[in-house]
Symmetry: C2
Subunit: 302 residues, 2 copies
């Protein structure tokens, strides 16, 4: 029997991945927030570099309240981290004894908080390497990439992680299993800290940030501070990572990161999960991170 | 006989101080750039907390070209530092053997460049502690403060500095003489680096920058790096300077620094004089300045 899947906080990321799972025959139930009315009317419309598709209003299981949703075998959390204080009220109604919880959210601290609330053995985390935006009409534009790297949190059994990864791979989403979720989280922060942080703070697309030698130096300095913070926390990332990440970013063109879009739309920024948790991890390990600190302080200005 | 005064680059600062000197009977010749047509039509209109005044078109000696101006006894340079490559062509036509040159420009490196071009014994520098804006109609709004601190560059005789200071004091502008011009320059940078640099880069008024503990920490960190850079260059500023400067800034309200205004008007920013010279001085003295470097790199992004 196919597992019942719940998507909690179906924005761009949850809409896209949940849509792919539904497109491939899985029973997916979506908790929408901002675009609930639009998807009820138009269905879930996805324009994707890997092929457009729509889940029609008749086929779409769309909800605006978690306690109207059925219990799930797998809860995929794609809330913005600024809404993490709703974890308990949104996720608790969906849980059975064996329900797994996968967070695809940004930054650090999400698995820890989910484990505290719902027990560590069922928690897994995934990193979505994807360029994706939600439009004002509720449709989703998938621009590039899409690979997910997934791992279990602490005592979560590896078998169960592989089962969940398999659901994605069956839905034409490349999904690989990480030996060490924390390694993956820190590796992704190496990109997210400079590009989301500077992108939002300075309101600049990724191409602007790396257009000049000074800009590349700025991005590289922040990346090296994140790498040093990771090392202070026992995660040893390769020294050529900044160069590789900058090279990858060159292929993205004038990409607006999610945090830059949030700034432009006057929505709360994911400062806590992306910048503050990294900074605190550096401080806890007594690793100097003056530029990360400066970026955090800039990002919290009124 | 009253000395003939030339104001080179009469924007907000040059228009205001030159206007006060003219108002008090000194023969002042103004080289205007952007507002030449407006002042020819309307005169030099100054709205000031210390009393409004206008120099009428008939009384105003306004020029758009330096080589139409008479030779001067005192040349006051109030160009934006981004126009310093015009020093030679704008100042050379005005010089007699004994002509003094006073730069009221921002940042570091201006006296050095003037000394290189015109000889050190005639060069003096002044720091204008003033909140002042030029409006689109060419009028000048003097919002607060106005004190000038002035000093001779290297071999410039102290007597001559006192003579020039006296001209300002006779025109109801408080002007004091610095024993050490470099001390004054660095002291002013302690304010200019964070407030002009962050103000322009983040497009925020001074009140926003110090509204939160994080913002004050950010400003203070930059100030401490400037103080350390100064110390590395033999200038020892008092350790309580950041607190005093932040307290002074609280009285200014929502002040737009000149560099923030330049950004908003899409004009070149004084990054070189304010940020890059400070950073280079830190680097030359091998003083770490990671946040100053980050600010410089952010300010030069396209």
């Amino acid at each position: 029997m196919k597992p019942t899947i719940a998507i909690i906080g179906a924005g761009a990321v949850g809409g896209y991945y949940g849509g792919r799972l539904a497109q491939h025959g899985f029973p997916v139930h979506f908790l929408f927030h901002g675009s609930y009315e639009a998807v009820r009317r138009n269905g879930l419309i996805v324009k994707s570099v890997d092929g457009d598709f729509t889940i029609s209003p008749a086929e779409l299981h769309a909800y605006s309240q978690a306690d109207h949703m059925p219990k799930a075998d797998l809860v995929i959390v794609t809330l913005k981290t600024t809404a993490n204080h709703f974890y308990e009220s949104l996720i608790d109604p969906l849980l059975k004894d064996q329900t797994l919880i996968l967070t695809l959210q940004n930054g650090l601290g999400n698995e820890e908080e989910l484990a505290r609330l719902f027990g560590p053995a069922r928690i897994m985390g995934g990193l979505a390497f994807v360029c994706i935006n939600r439009m004002n009409d509720g449709s989703i534009h998938h621009l590039d990439h899409g690979h997910i790297k997934m791992g279990g949190f602490e005592s979560c059994p590896p078998d169960r992680v592989r089962e969940v990864a398999e659901l994605f791979n069956q839905s034409r989403i490349r999904c690989t299993v990480l030996e060490d979720l924390r390694y993956g989280r820190w590796e992704k922060l190496v990109w997210n800290v400079p590009f989301n942080g500077l992108g939002a703070t300075l309101d600049k697309t990724t191409d602007k940030l790396i257009a000049t030698p000074q800009g590349q130096a700025l991005v590289r300095t922040l990346m090296l501070e994140v790498i040093a913070a990771a090392a202070g926390n026992g995660i040893h990332l390769p020294p050529d990572l900044p160069d590789r990440k900058i090279d990858e970013t060159k292929t993205m063109g004038a990409y607006r990161t999610s945090m830059q879009i949030d700034r432009q739309e006057n929505r709360p920024l994911e400062v806590e999960a992306i910048l503050h948790h990294s900074l605190r991890a550096a401080m806890a390990a007594r690793v100097p991170a003056p530029c990360l600190q400066m970026l955090y302080e800039m990002a919290t200005l009124p």
